[in-house]
C-alpha cells in the first residue's frame, strides 16, 4: 500500500482518538461543577473546551516523550502498528463511554500500543517493569491520594463554615456554603486547562512518531504546526460534545455532591495533578478526579459513596490495559493478514465505531437531560444503613399498629 495513504489513515485515526479523549475527559473538570449547579451543563463544556483548546497550544513538551518507554528499544514502531494500537484505544474509549465509566484515555492508548507491539514483535517487545511502574501502580495510588485530599478538604470546609440553626434563623444569613460555587468556576477551569496541556500532546506525539518513522519528518524534536492545530481542534471539539454519560457518573453516580464537596474535589484534583506532573510521578487525570469525587462524597456527614458504581469504575480501570491491548493485538493481526489488511482493519474499526454509536442512541444522555437525571439520582441516594434504619422503622410502626388493633 502507498505509505502516504497509510500515514494519512493513521493521522485521521489519531485525531479521532484525540476527539474521543476529549469527550471522555470532559467529566474530569466539569462533572462536579454541573452537579452542584455552579455552571450550566452547556456553559461548563464550553469552558472546558476552550481551556483544552488553549492548553493544547501552550505546551508541546510532553509530545516528545510519548509512551514509547513502555515498549522496549529496538522495536520499530511502524505506522501499521500505531494504527492497530489506536484502534484498540478508540474502541475501548467508546465502550467505556457507552457504559458511562470514567477511565484513563492515556492508559487505553498505552494498552492499544502494547497489544499491537505484542502482536508484531512478541512478548520481548514489552518493558513489563515499566508498565507496572507507569500504569498499574499509579492507578492504585492516584485515587487514594486524591481521595484522602478531597475527604480532608471537605471535612474542613464543613467544619469551618458550620453555624447553628438558631444563629441562622436569627439573622437569616446562611453558612455561605452555596457561594462555594463561585470557587468551583475557577477550580474546574484550572483542571480543564491542565488537561489541555497534557492530553492533546499525546496525540501530537503519536502523529509525530508516525511522521518520523515514515520519513516525512526529519526528527522528533519539533511538532509540525498543522499537527498542533488539528490536535487542539480535535480535543476541543471532543470536549465540547461532552461525554454526558460519564459526566452523569462522575456528577451523581459515584456520590451526591454539594458545593463545598465540589470545590474540595476540584481543588484536590487540580493540586494532585499539578503536584504529580511537577514532582515527577505521572498520574492519570481521570483516576485522580474519580478518587476526588469519592473522597468528597465520604467527607460530608450523611454523604455516601455508591460502592457498586465505584466497583464498576475500578473494574473498568483494571480492564483498560488488557482490553485495549487485546483489541490492539487483534487489529494488528488483521493488518498483517494481507497486503490490504490495513484497509480491512480500517473498515472493521469504522463499522465497530458506528455500531457503538448506534447502541448509544437507545438511551441518549445530553446536556438537556444530564442535570435532571443528576437531580433525580440525588433523591434516591440512600446508604445501606439508612435503608436498614428505614426498614426497621417501618417494621416498628407496623408492630405498633398491630398492637393498637388488639
Amino acid at each position: 500500500m502507498d505509505p502516504i495513504l497509510i500515514v494519512g489513515l493513521v493521522v485521521a485515526l489519531a485525531l479521532f482518538f484525540d476527539f474521543t479523549n476529549g469527550f471522555h475527559d470532559t467529566a474530569n473538570s466539569s462533572a462536579t461543577a454541573i452537579a452542584t449547579g455552579a455552571l450550566k451543563p452547556r456553559t461548563a463544556v464550553i469552558i472546558a473546551a476552550l481551556m483544552n483548546l488553549v492548553g493544547a497550544f501552550l505546551s508541546t513538551a510532553v509530545a516528545k516523550t510519548i509512551s514509547v518507554s513502555l515498549i522496549n528499544e529496538g522495536v520499530n514502531l511502524g505506522a501499521e502498528m500505531v494504527f492497530a494500537g489506536l484502534t484498540g484505544a478508540i474502541l475501548w474509549n467508546l465502550t467505556t463511554w457507552l457504559l458511562g465509566l470514567p477511565s484513563s484515555s492515556s492508559h487505553a492508548l498505552f494498552g492499544g500500543l502494547i497489544g499491537a507491539a505484542l502482536a508484531y514483535a512478541g512478548v520481548a517487545a514489552i518493558n513489563f517493569p515499566k508498565v507496572l511502574e507507569k500504569v498499574i501502580f499509579p492507578a492504585l495510588f492516584a485515587p487514594l491520594v486524591a481521595g484522602i485530599a478531597a475527604f480532608l478538604a471537605t471535612r474542613l470546609a464543613y467544619l469551618i463554615t458550620a453555624r447553628s440553626q438558631a444563629q441562622r434563623k436569627k439573622t437569616g444569613i446562611g453558612t455561605g456554603r452555596a457561594s462555594f460555587k463561585i470557587g468551583q468556576v475557577f477550580s474546574s477551569s484550572l483542571v480543564a486547562l491542565s488537561h489541555g496541556t497534557n492530553d492533546a500532546q499525546k496525540t501530537m506525539g503519536v502523529i509525530t512518531l508516525v511522521l518520523v518513522t515514515s520519513g516525512l519528518q526529519a526528527d522528533g524534536n519539533h511538532v509540525e504546526w498543522w499537527v498542533i492545530i488539528s490536535a487542539a481542534l480535535a480535543i476541543a471539539l471532543g470536549t465540547y460534545s461532552g461525554g454526558w454519560r460519564i459526566i452523569k457518573t462522575m456528577g451523581s453516580g459515584l456520590a451526591e455532591i454539594k458545593p463545598p464537596q465540589g470545590l474540595s474535589a476540584e481543588v484536590a484534583t487540580g493540586v494532585t495533578i499539578l503536584a504529580s506532573s511537577n514532582l515527577g510521578f505521572a498520574l492519570s487525570t481521570t483516576q485522580v478526579a474519580s478518587g476526588s469525587v469519592m473522597g468528597a462524597g465520604l467527607g460530608r456527614k450523611g454523604g455516601a459513596v455508591r460502592w457498586s458504581k465505584a466497583g464498576q469504575v475500578f473494574a473498568g480501570w483494571f480492564f483498560t490495559l488488557p482490553a485495549a491491548g487485546a483489541v490492539g493485538a487483534l487489529s494488528a493481526f488483521l493488518t498483517m493478514s494481507s497486503p490490504y489488511g490495513l484497509l480491512i482493519d480500517a473498515v472493521v474499526t469504522i463499522g465497530a465505531i458506528l455500531a457503538i454509536f448506534q447502541v448509544s442512541r437507545r438511551n441518549r444522555i445530553g446536556h438537556h437531560n444530564v442535570l435532571s437525571e443528576v437531580e433525580g439520582a440525588s433523591e434516591v441516594v440512600a446508604s445501606p444503613r439508612q435503608v436498614r434504619a428505614a426498614q426497621a422503622k417501618a417494621a416498628r410502626a407496623a408492630k405498633a399498629a398491630k398492637k393498637g388493633k388488639k
Partner: protein
C-alpha cells in the same frame, strides 16, 4: 523501579495543598458571613460591631487573596512558557 520518594512527596503536597487551599476559601466564607451578621449592629452605629465587621471582612478578603494567588501559581505551573529554563 517505583520512585517512592517522589511518590511520597506528591502525596504530601497533594493532601496538604488541597486542605490548606480549601480551608482558606472556607475561612474566607466564614468570615465574610460573620461580617454580614454584624452589619445590622454596625448600621446602628455600635462601634464594637463596626470594628468587628471591618476586621472580619478584611480577614475574609485576605483569605480570598490567598486562593487567588494559588490559582495564579497553578496557571504558572501549567504554562511552560513561564518557566522555560526547566
Amino acid at each position: 523501579m517505583i520512585e517512592w520518594n517522589n511518590l511520597f512527596l506528591v502525596a504530601i503536597v497533594a493532601i496538604v495543598g488541597s486542605t490548606v487551599l480549601v480551608a482558606s476559601f472556607s475561612l474566607g466564607m466564614r468570615w465574610l458571613t460573620n461580617a454580614r451578621h454584624l452589619v445590622p449592629g454596625a448600621k446602628k452605629g455600635k462601634s464594637k460591631a463596626i470594628r468587628a465587621e471591618v476586621l472580619n471582612r478584611s480577614a475574609a478578603y485576605m483569605m480570598f487573596t490567598i486562593c487567588a494567588s494559588a490559582l495564579i501559581y497553578g496557571i504558572y505551573l501549567i504554562v511552560p512558557y513561564f518557566h522555560l529554563d526547566k
